[in-house]
Symmetry: C2
Subunit: 208 residues, 2 copies
DNA sequence: CCAGCAGGTTAACCGTCGTTCACCGCCGGG
DNA sequence: CCCGGCGGTGAACGACGGTTAACCTGCTGG
C-alpha cells in the first residue's frame, strides 16, 4: 500500500480520468498537500507526523522538506488556500447572480454545498486546526474567513431587512454549520440527493 | 475514587480565588475538568499541556495526577460525560413530549439549543478532539453519539415518512451542525435572542 | 496528641517528533 | 562524458511535554 509507485511520464495517462482533471497533474507538492489534508482531517493536524505524511505519498518523512519549509507552513498554505477559494468564489457567484438578494442567496448556498461535498476533508481541517497555526498565518486566515462571512451577511441583511448585523451573522454561521455537516454524514446518501437535501434545508433555515 | 466532597472548611488558603468566583463550590476534580474543557476548546486538546491546566486552577502540572490517571483519561471522562448527558437527555425529553412526532422534534430542538448555549466549550471539544482519544474510549463515545443520533432519526422518520433512514440521518446531522454553530457566533447576540433564532432556523431546516 | 492520608511541590526521566545534516543516485544539457 | 542540482535517504539532535519519584504539609478522626 505504501508503494505509490511510478507515476509514468507527464501527459500520458489522461484518457480514463475525464472528470478528475484537476487532480491529474500531481506535482509531488500537490500530492503531498492532498494526502496531508486527508490525514489531518482524520486525526487532527497535531496528531499526524511528517513520517505519516511522507508514507502516504511513498517517501520518507524528511523528504517533505524538499517541498515545504515546515509542517506549519504546509498547514498554513492549506488553510489560506481554502479560505481564498471560498472568499473569491463567493464574490464571483454573487456577481453572476444579478441584483436580487434571493438569487444571490441561492447562489451562495449552491456554492457552499458544492464546496462542502467536493472537499469534506478541507472542511474539517478548516475549523478544527486553525488554532494550531502560528499567529500571523492564523490572522490571515481569519481575515479571509471574515470577508467570506461578510459576503453572506450583506446578502442576508437585504433579505431580512428588519434584522441587525449580529443576527445575520449568527444566521450565516448557522447555515455554514448546517452545510458543513457533510463530513459527519459521510457517504450513505448519494451525492446528488445529498446536495439537493442540503440546498433545501439551507434555504429553509436561511429564510424561514 | 475519593468523593472529595469535603472542602476543608472555611477557605482561607493563600490565593485560591484566582478565576473561580462565580460557580458555587465544585470539587477540585470538577474545577479541573471545567478549566480543561475551556482550554481544550480554545486551543485543541493536544495543544494544551498539563501545566496549563494546572495553572488554570492555581496548582502545578503534576497535581493533576492526584485526580486523574492521565490526560487522556480526563479527555475521555469529558467526552463520555457529554455524550451521556445528550443521549439520556434526548430520551427523557422525547418521553415527556408525548406521542406526537412534531412535539417530540420540538422538544429535541429545544434540548439541543439549550445544551449548545450552555456548553459551547464542550460542543467544540466534542467533535474536534474525539480522534485523539485512545481507541476504546473513542468507541464508547461513538456508541453514545450513535444512540443520540438514532433518537433523532426515529422522530424525523415519523415526520417525513417518505424518506429513508440515510436521508433522515443526514438531516439530523445537518440540524446538529446548525445548532452547534453557537461557538462560532459567540456572544454578539443575547442568549434569549440567539436561542429563539436557532430554534426557528432548526425547525425550518428539519421540516422544510 | 499522634498517625495518616489527601493533595501539592520540585526535579528528573523519557519517548515522541519536528527539523537538520551529510551523503547519494538519477537525469538533462553543455 | 561529465556535471549540477533536484529529490530522496538514514542518522542524529534538541525541544517539548506527559508521567513518575521523592518529599512535604496541614487537616481530621481515633
Amino acid at each position: 500500500m505504501t508503494r505509490a509507485g511510478t507515476q509514468a511520464g507527464p501527459g500520458r495517462s489522461a484518457r480514463d480520468t475525464a472528470l478528475i482533471a484537476d487532480t491529474s497533474h500531481p506535482s509531488r507538492r500537490e500530492q503531498i498537500l492532498q494526502a496531508a489534508a486527508q490525514l489531518f482531517a482524520e486525526r487532527g493536524a497535531r496528531a499526524v507526523g511528517v513520517d505519516d505524511i511522507g508514507a502516504a505519498v511513498g517517501v520518507t518523512g524528511p523528504a517533505i522538506y524538499r517541498h515545504f519549509a515546515s509542517k506549519d507552513a504546509m498547514l498554513a498554505e492549506m488553510l489560506v488556500g481554502i479560505s481564498e477559494r471560498l472568499a473569491d468564489g463567493a464574490r464571483e457567484r454573487i456577481a453572476e447572480a444579478g441584483p436580487e438578494p434571493a438569487a444571490q442567496l441561492r447562489a451562495l448556498i449552491d456554492f457552499q454545498v458544492e464546496f462542502a461535498l467536493d472537499n469534506p476533508a478541507l472542511i474539517v481541517v478548516h475549523d478544527r486546526d486553525l488554532p494550531s497555526l502560528p499567529g500571523a498565518d492564523a490572522a490571515a486566515v481569519r481575515r479571509l474567513q471574515r470577508r467570506y462571512v461578510e459576503e453572506w451577511v450583506a446578502v442576508l441583511a437585504r433579505l431580512h431587512h428588519g434584522d441587525d448585523a449580529a443576527a445575520c451573522r449568527a444566521r450565516a454561521h448557522a447555515v455554514f454549520g448546517l452545510i458543513n455537516s457533510t463530513p459527519h454524514s459521510a457517504g450513505r446518501l448519494g451525492r446528488p440527493a445529498m446536495g439537493e437535501l442540503l440546498r433545501r434545508m439551507a434555504w429553509s433555515a436561511a429564510t424561514g
